[in-house]
Symmetry: C2
Amino acid sequence: MAEIILPITSVVIFGSGNVATHLGKAFAQTGITIQQVYSRNQAHANELANTTHSVAITEPGKADTNADLWIISVSDDAIKKIIDHLPPYDGIVVHTAGSVAMETLSQFQHFGVFYPFQTLSKEREINHNDLPLLVEGSDPSTTQRLLNLASQISNKVTIADSGLRATLHIAAVLSCNFVNHLYTLSADLLGKNNISFDFLMPLIKETTQKILSMPPADAQTGPAIRNDQSVIEKHLIRLSDNPSLKKIYDLMSKSIIQYHNKQ
Amino acid sequence: MAEIILPITSVVIFGSGNVATHLGKAFAQTGITIQQVYSRNQAHANELANTTHSVAITEPGKADTNADLWIISVSDDAIKKIIDHLPPYDGIVVHTAGSVAMETLSQFQHFGVFYPFQTLSKEREINHNDLPLLVEGSDPSTTQRLLNLASQISNKVTIADSGLRATLHIAAVLSCNFVNHLYTLSADLLGKNNISFDFLMPLIKETTQKILSMPPADAQTGPAIRNDQSVIEKHLIRLSDNPSLKKIYDLMSKSIIQYHNKQ
């Protein structure tokens, strides 16, 4: 006889940051009950609890053991501190981190990972249907329950083990976090010269558009891929008053030259 | 009496690379006559000459002095080599480089810069109406003639002196060339682990979308801005077999931490 897979209908959220906030809202919007929101900080707990029609708690020990799922969505270092203070529980416990092994939660009977593969800021709304979710469960029934829950809020759900998740997390840091920092450094450089960042938008848009139709290695342009040392030298001299950016410019240019000469 | 500003109706293009090709096609599409295309390499000269209904030449000395404009669109180092072999000319001579001073062309009577502020690859079509063009002329009438020509092919034309152009060029290297290289390194990392680069596309799209509605510094997410040393350490260990990428990861993470702690 096939095992009956019960739906997850109620959750407790630990955390009140970007990921906790977006997941909480997505659950609330799809009819999942948020029983409680935990944060060390009462005001933060209240804020997300209010948005999700939930109850704020500031002690992990008060977590509702009747909820189907506990979602721990805090910084990687804080996960251990929270699980040490949780009561015994026979539901599912997951974390939302890209680079933390699922086994960190192995003290629980059922555990897993529920990792949103997206850049989430509280201030920016997203359409949760397009939110890529990578899930993993400690046993087939847990995996299936997490998959079913994920599919309720998103059309982009994938099963991913810890190895796959860690590799994707590094790629996300490169392609999103570092890319955004380069935008920040550019905005800073232009700002110091009283030039609007908007000037860069057609270029930034086309850089992203290009890789929809060609591999990024083929889309590369600029002084480094031409090994145009005269331009690179000029730019390094102009960046003399900004040693940190100069170092990034130098290292990235050398990496481009090295990468494309090896091919 | 106001000076009569004559339109530019005929050009000679020196170069057959990405910029020369896109400008040549844009001119041909808007009814500007391409008299000649110069390249040292006969096949390259033929290719662009055929596309633009033009004549291929392989010696700068054979440049048509009856054309209104000569456009030198070659690598920065090659510009000097070409102008040393050009015949006397009373038309306008421009280059298309972001980081070469206009005065490089001061041996001519009228000179300037015609710099497309975009990532251009031969293999990818663009809509020239959206192509940002930065122009500069050696005298008011030259500037006006270049502005008029630029406005014939694009709606995004700006006058930019050499200082503004150089700053924008550095910002373009950061926000386009380095960004694309990070995409390349990500694709490489995923490819080695048999993961499709397509996995990253929702994240890459959202990273770009976010900065349309918020300053990039506010859009920053990821382990470095949280100063999550535990994740950073794990990623650096996973990158041990790729010292060049590991160095980039380390430097960029430190730059993010430093930038956001200073604010």
